[in-house]
């Protein structure tokens, strides 16, 4: 019989420092794990417990998985203390993942902030599999300061992949090392900064801190997106990952089963939807 609570034995092969508070862990589970972009895993620190994370790596690669983790509490602090060779555990994948089928033939707007860039990278890898399937891929990333923009080393490579890809970044407040755009990520969502996206025939997907999700949503609505065109990576405390422990509800949805990426149209009526 299958035990869905057992964390599959996994070795930390490598650790990449992304920002002062985010590290990417390259994990090798004893058997390959197949996941769709946006699905999440429960990562175990043996004896201490688990926390949910969405892989940031290419969903086509199943032998290894990368997870980019912000240091913020009990489990994540312990993860940041680990070195290569450490043993951890994985359960999953859980959740639905991004609605990739819906994006085919559309203009796709990807908006990420802070550690929210991690799940977005898996989405980008999935889109970059064949960029020609989408009309435009417009990416807008924000962070508080330059050092907090994860995956910067890859941005130019991504921009060069295809003619229909645009990636712009911003930081919240001016910084000596930064000559680019300054302002919240919403300031990159003005209609004249979106490469002529056809909003009516577009989907917007966003992941980041709840406060950012809230303002991104308001901005998207302001520039003409309708709630069914907006997908948000929602965040709730989780334990089982399987719709059984009752914890992660947003209205009548369990994020671990119906999300974590939720169509805004489905959850807009929920009080405190952005926490």
């Amino acid at each position: 019989m299958k035990n869905p609570y057992y964390p599959i034995d996994t070795v930390v092969e490598d650790i990449i420092t992304e920002t002062p508070t985010i590290k990417t862990f390259v994990l090798k589970p004893v058997r390959p794990v197949k996941f769709r972009a946006g699905q999440f895993m429960q990562l175990t620190v043996p004896g201490l417990g688990e926390a949910p994370f969405t892989p940031s790596s290419d969903p086509n690669i199943t032998e290894r998985m990368e997870i980019s983790i912000l240091k913020t509490g009990k489990v994540t602090n312990a993860l940041h203390e680990l070195g290569p060779g450490a043993k951890v555990g994985l359960r999953g994948p859980f959740g639905k993942g991004y609605p990739l089928e819906k994006l085919v033939g559309k203009d796709v707007l990807v908006v990420g902030g802070g550690v929210g860039l991690a799940p977005m990278r898996a989405l980008l890898y999935a889109l970059f599999d064949d960029p020609s399937k989408y009309r435009k891929i417009v990416i807008r990333f924000g962070a508080r300061e330059p050092a907090e923009l994860s995956f910067r080393r890859q941005y130019d490579e991504w921009r060069a992949l295809a003619g229909n890809i645009s990636l712009k970044t911003t930081i919240d407040v001016p910084h000596p090392d930064w000559s680019g755009h300054v302002g919240l990520v919403t300031t990159l969502l003005e209609p004249d900064k979106l490469e002529g996206i056809d909003i009516v025939d577009s989907y917007a997907l966003s992941c980041g801190p709840e406060i950012m999700l809230k303002f991104v949503t308001l901005k998207l609505l302001e520039i003409g997106y309708k709630p069914p065109q907006i997908y948000l990576s929602m965040n709730r405390k989780m334990s089982c990952g399987m719709g059984k422990c009752g914890r992660c509800n947003v209205g009548h949805y369990y994020l671990c089963v119906d999300g974590p990426d939720m169509c805004y149209d489905k959850i807009k009526h929920v009080p405190n939807v952005f926490g």
């Binding site: 035990n3 175990t44 004896g47 509490g73 405390k237 422990c245 914890r247 369990y254 926490g275």
Partner: protein
């Protein structure tokens, strides 16, 4: 349908007890309330009774233990394991309609869907349920407000109804039918009039339930009024006296929430599943990112909305069978029926 007299019923239980652990309702002397007790030896304990109404304890603890180990890691078998075929079953006598129905609801969460909890399923399959009619009801019972009956109609292996000096007995599963056919000498055909006297007894209990609950609204029609009252100030008032003890959720036969935590056991690690309650602050709190239900009234309210609005949408039915245990257990005196009445008077305005 068959009839079994009390002596033969005890013989039947004795026989069944050879196949598993036997649990029966026993009356507590001081309070007159029924508690589930394990039968260690025969004769059956003095005070055992399948009359009256539900026990204080629910059945959920048989399938979802208060605390249980769900994984020991690392392990060579990884996430595969062999179910132990030899574990004994539980024979649970005297389960009421509201409780067998509640188990079927929890099954939808723990067994159905993409993932199943194998431990829950195994324990559930090992449960042999002998359900019983209520011959009375408690002050807090309100199954009829949920359109339910105080006698079980499905979800049991055998069901008994007290008549004369014994019980009318019916099978509700293949296992139940087998028990009846293998023990044919213990049963006789019902006598004329026994079925009628069962129906009369049932009607009496229904009449009492209806009388007790006549001042409260139809609970099956609460979903819409609750939606309208979502942002109403009444929840602050209703929750003012709640002390966040979680008694209402622990005692509820349909509350299934749990938490996983890990411990160190020498060279190995253990993952433990434990009941949890949405009524306590830490339940949904996140690191630095706040809590979707920070206020006490948000949490008190959540119990009502989860059972009467969210679960009907996600799992097809109201997750409350009207057993009334949460009313008995609440030290703040929160009575679900009265809350519904207040909701109705608010939204009617």
């Amino acid at each position: 349908m068959q009839f079994i007299d009390s002596t033969n019923f005890e013989r039947l239980l004795k026989k069944l007890s050879g196949e598993g652990e036997l649990f029966v309702p026993v009356t507590e002397k001081d309070t007159g309330k029924l508690h589930i007790e394990r039968v260690e030896a025969f004769p059956l304990p003095e005070g055992m009774s399948v009359e009256g109404y539900r026990t204080v304890e629910t059945l959920k603890g048989f399938a979802q233990l208060l605390r249980s180990t769900v994984a020991e890691y690392p392990s060579e078998e990884l996430d595969e394991f062999e179910a132990d075929e030899n574990t004994l079953s539980y024979i649970v006598v005297g389960a009421r309609a509201c409780d067998v129905a509640a188990m079927e609801l929890v099954d939808r969460v723990q067994i159905e869907g993409e993932f199943e909890d194998p431990f829950y399923r195994i324990r559930r399959e090992k449960m042999f349920t002998i359900a019983a009619d209520c011959t009375d009801c408690g002050e807090s019972c309100f199954c009829t407000l949920l359109g339910r009956k105080p006698w079980p109609e499905k979800g049991f292996d055998l069901a008994i109804s007290k008549v004369d000096a014994g019980y009318l007995i019916e099978a509700g599963s293949e296992r139940g039918e087998k028990v009846i056919s293998e023990n044919g000498d213990l049963f006789i055909a019902p006598r004329d009039g026994q079925e009628k006297s069962r129906d009369e007894a049932r009607a009496k209990v229904v009449a009492k339930l209806e009388k007790n609950n006549r001042d409260f609204p139809d609970a099956t029609k609460m979903t819409e009024p609750l939606r309208k009252a979502l942002a109403d100030g009444l929840w602050d008032k209703e929750s003012a006296k709640c002390v966040e003890c979680g008694a209402c959720t622990n005692i509820c036969p349909t509350c299934y929430c749990f938490l996983l935590f890990d411990t160190v056991e020498g060279e190995k690690y253990r993952r433990v599943m434990s009941w949890d309650s949405c009524q306590v602050t830490g339940y949904a709190r996140m690191a630095g990112m706040g809590n979707p239900r920070p206020r006490l009234s948000d949490r008190v309210k959540h119990r009502f909305y989860h059972k009467y609005d969210y679960l009907p949408l996600s799992h097809g039915e109201i997750f409350c069978t009207g057993c009334g245990r949460c009313i008995d257990a609440c030290s703040a005196g929160i009575d679900m029926r009265a809350v519904f009445r207040n909701v109705m008077s608010k939204v009617a305005k």
